[in-house]
Symmetry: C2
Subunit: 221 residues, 2 copies
DNA sequence: ACAGTATTCCATGGATTCATGGAGGAGGAG
DNA sequence: CTCCTCCTCCATGAATCCATGGAATACTGT
């Protein structure tokens, strides 16, 4: 890399890349793609120490990928914009398509390919027909920060104990955070094991939002 | 970042980010976005030692962003696909929009904002009207690997000595690699200094190709 | 087989990144 | 003012990354 103005420009661009070059930061970015969260919440959700989470969040902020807002004593981090969400989505897409080990790791993490998936348009069609109910299995705060209009929220942790809340005469379309999120896979398996007809959305809420579909409940206090 | 399957998946995804986290690699990626090149060519174009260039190219390959093909004794590196070009474009877009220092470094590198720019559609319109001639000021090999149909190739280094090759009765639309490439800025300034009416394409060939416009001369032997 | 060219491999020292625990600072409630 | 909560800053040692020059490898042409 040359010194001088060009080198300086490239070095600045590389800051964005560096921010994406750490699994912990990617996990935080993935959480933030679902909605704004405080440092403590993010640390808990990602099973990180507070210092560690804070440091990584500041690295993301320094790279311009997230912004902060102070509410009293808590600091809320949020994605800097939908272009950042699109960047994160593109990274996953390229990695999935181009790195064989990513496909392997994804299969290990998501489990066997035994669940049926449908696209966003097919979901809309089935809901319009009254054939399907949409089930959001993400943790409660993420549902609250925004979800597919009409979806029912039952976090995956509580699903086993709340099966009777789901109307028995319709099929279920479960979704979660995005293409590499395990919750919807687990939900479909759990529902199928209880004799319910269930499929999952191919990707998740991030892709739904990026595709420009309407979002419910995204108000900020 | 948790251990286990999820941590493994995130670590794999981070490999793509790490590959983007170094200015030298970004420069190589930017060159490869213009077309396939050998190691020696890339090293020369980026002013790198051969060992250094080779090591970085292998890092990009390990992250799945580029592929290699052997032709006799030379190894040709190429972008793994247009999804990688789109990723690189998105990184620049986010960095430009979100990191103040990038905007500053870009202005320093590209020079004062004294050149008129037009979009791709406007370029097509002016060419269709016979009002404008399109000038490709990238180095010869990049023009050969693909260019805007009908464009004339005069590398920026040779432009000062080849001004008479450009028809005097039309205005010039100069373009180069992409949004952060300095050649077209320099070309417009040079032409204007010689009394020619010249504007530049807002971005460059990378964006032209990604937008799905036709490309000439991209044949591979 | 031999010489020549293009590329990769390897060893090295210096710089950067990382996780972590404890101190420090900012704001709110009493 | 004082405690309390939430978060940031700081120091540290281990791990990783980086540029570089010289040796080793792969292939071509003779």
């Amino acid at each position: 890399m040359p010194d001088g103005a060009k080198g300086e420009l490239l070095a600045q661009l590389a800051r964005v890349g560096k921010a994406l070059g750490n699994g912990t930061r990617l996990e935080l970015l993935d959480l933030l793609a679902q909605g704004p969260r405080s440092v403590a919440e993010l640390a808990a959700a990602a099973h990180l120490g507070l210092s560690t989470a804070s440091a990584h969040l500041q690295a993301l902020k320094h790279a311009g990928l997230v912004t902060t807002t102070r509410y009293g004593t808590t600091v809320e981090y949020a994605l800097a914009g939908d272009d950042v969400a699109a960047l994160w989505h593109r990274v996953r897409e390229v990695a999935t398509a181009r790195v064989a080990d990513v496909g392997r790791a994804a299969r290990t993490y998501l489990g066997p390919d035994d669940t049926e998936e449908i696209g966003r348009e097919e979901l809309l069609r089935r809901v319009a027909d009254g054939r399907a109910v949409v089930l959001d299995v993400r943790p409660g705060p993420e549902f609250a920060a925004g979800h597919i209009p009409g979806a029912v929220s039952i976090p995956i942790d509580e699903l086993a104990g709340r099966l009777e809340e789901i109307p028995a005469d319709q099929e279920v379309v479960a979704y979660c955070r995005g293409a590499l999120c395990v919750f919807s896979h687990d939900a479909v398996r759990l529902l199928a094991a209880h004799g319910r007809r269930a499929v999952r959305l191919t990707d998740g809420f991030l892709e739904w939002r990026l595709a420009g579909h309407p979002v419910a409940g995204a108000a900020r206090p």
